[in-house]
């Protein structure tokens, strides 16, 4: 009786695990749309890139709460697409006790190029962070949907 109950329970549990998997496999929806990309480039005054630096992004409508975050590559670069909120976006870049905050005004037009630096003199490493409008990411919309499957967004 007990073994029977365990088998039933195990079968029900396995079915529960499998059900979502099958649902996912039928519904893959990938959308890509045109968007302005921003490239951040962080480096020291020596030319050494701020590799693998932490980047935290703050949106204009809630500047005290991180909107997003990322990590620069080994060349000190990070590319991303911002939201639609107009105003001042802020970017905090930190690595090994060094840090800089840079800002970018987003309006109706394309973002302006801004370069920020901080620190001075010997004993501090000058940080330079450039933010540039980098062009468009994606030129079309793509939808992949498995034939016969359900729409995942439904």
């Amino acid at each position: 009786m007990s073994q029977c109950f365990r088998r039933v329970a195990a079968t029900a549990f396995a079915a529960g695990l499998c059900a979502p998997l099958s649902a996912f496999s039928h519904a893959a929806l990938i959308e890509a749309e045109t968007a302005q990309a921003i490239r951040l480039h962080a480096l020291y005054d020596t030319g050494e890139p701020m590799s693998h630096a932490q980047v935290i992004i703050y949106a204009p409508d809630d500047p005290s709460t991180p909107w997003g975050q990322g990590v620069t590559d080994r060349d000190g670069r990070l590319e991303f697409v911002l939201g639609n909120e107009p105003g001042r976006w802020s970017f905090q870049v930190r690595q090994s006790g060094h840090g800089a905050m840079v800002h970018m005004e987003i309006g109706a037009d394309a973002p302006v190029i801004m370069t920020a630096s901080s620190a001075q003199g010997w004993g501090q490493r000058l940080l330079m962070v450039a933010l540039v409008a980098w062009g468009a990411l994606g030129t079309a919309a793509f939808v992949y949907r498995r034939k016969g499957g359900r729409n995942a967004s439904a």
Binding site: Y58, Q92, G97, H98, M101, A116, S118, Q120, G121, W122
Partner: protein, 281 residues
């Protein structure tokens, strides 16, 4: 309804008490301020301290909602825990501090637009002159390695710049570090002190959280941060690191006893990891 009346009463009391405390302190120093003093190393009149403590006790649960700005000073964990392996000085000494006194003055929080980037000595914006001087022991810190200096009422806004000066105290020294240095079998008691005055014009605080946002219902805090590794260097950093190239290390003081040093060229002052423009006064 009762709670609202109680809060209104507390609000009225707190608003009236804070200028009184500040005025008493200002009277002692020959200046007026609206600061609530939290830490003064015994340099405040006993009666003023009583008033300050009474105000803090009454307003403790309310100050968070009062639109206030609290200022802290920190020497980070290097002040409270010392230089321990692998974070030894650049020349391999372990340091244990028994006292690090620093005196801060001319403290001003700023709302700047566009944001001040620490690229010069002058900050343009809306200024909130806080107070000073304050002498604090950075080893006597809370669990976050911070020493609370004072709390002031502040208008809503983002305080994204901070200026302050490191100035000599009554004994003539702006920064004094006392402790014991150890290397191999050597144990060296030391007192290092500087009489220099240094002005700092700092950008926005940089750290794990973004600071300085005061609203009608919430307070905020800011921090003066002294990076002691800019004085002693770090063994876990490359010898060619800019900080290590500038730092003294401990060898120049290894004879022990009292030594005086200059802060000229050393950038100890920060706001978290944010930078400051430094000018010798």
């Amino acid at each position: 309804m009762i709670l609202q009346r109680k809060q209104a009463f507390h609000s009225a009391v707190c608003r009236r008490m804070q200028p009184l405390v500040g005025a008493l302190d200002g009277w002692r120093k020959g200046r007026m301020t609206n600061a609530v003093v939290l830490h003064t190393e015994g340099k405040i009149l006993p009666m003023t301290r009583v008033f300050a403590l009474a105000t803090m006790a009454i307003c403790a649960s309310f100050s968070v909602h009062a639109g206030s700005l609290t200022l802290f000073a920190s020497g980070e964990d290097l002040a409270t825990e010392g230089f321990t392996a692998p974070q030894l000085t650049k020349d391999g000494w372990a340091l244990e501090f028994t006292r690090i006194t620093a005196t801060f003055d001319q403290i001003t929080a700023w709302q700047t637009d566009p944001p001040f980037m620490a690229d010069g000595p002058a900050i343009t914006g809306t200024a909130l002159l806080i107070a000073g001087p304050f002498t604090v022991d950075l080893t006597d810190a809370d669990e976050d390695d911070r020493v609370a200096l004072l709390r002031v009422e502040a208008a809503p806004g983002h305080y994204n710049a901070l200026s302050w000066a490191l100035v000599p105290d009554a004994d003539g020294f702006s920064l004094v570090l006392e402790g014991i240095a150890r290397k191999d079998v050597r144990e060296v008691p030391f007192t290092l002190r500087s009489a220099d005055s240094v002005a700092h014009a700092c950008s926005e605080y940089l750290g794990d959280t973004r600071k300085g946002f005061v609203t009608d219902t919430t307070g905020a805090d800011l921090e003066i941060t002294l990076h002691l590794d800019h004085l002693f260097g770090r063994a876990d950093k490359d010898d060619a690191d800019e900080m290590n190239l500038a730092a003294f290390g401990f060898e120049p003081f290894a004879a022990g006893g009292v030594h005086e040093f200059t802060l000229d060229g050393l950038h100890l002052g920060h706001v978290g990891e944010g930078h400051c423009h430094v000018s010798m006064l």
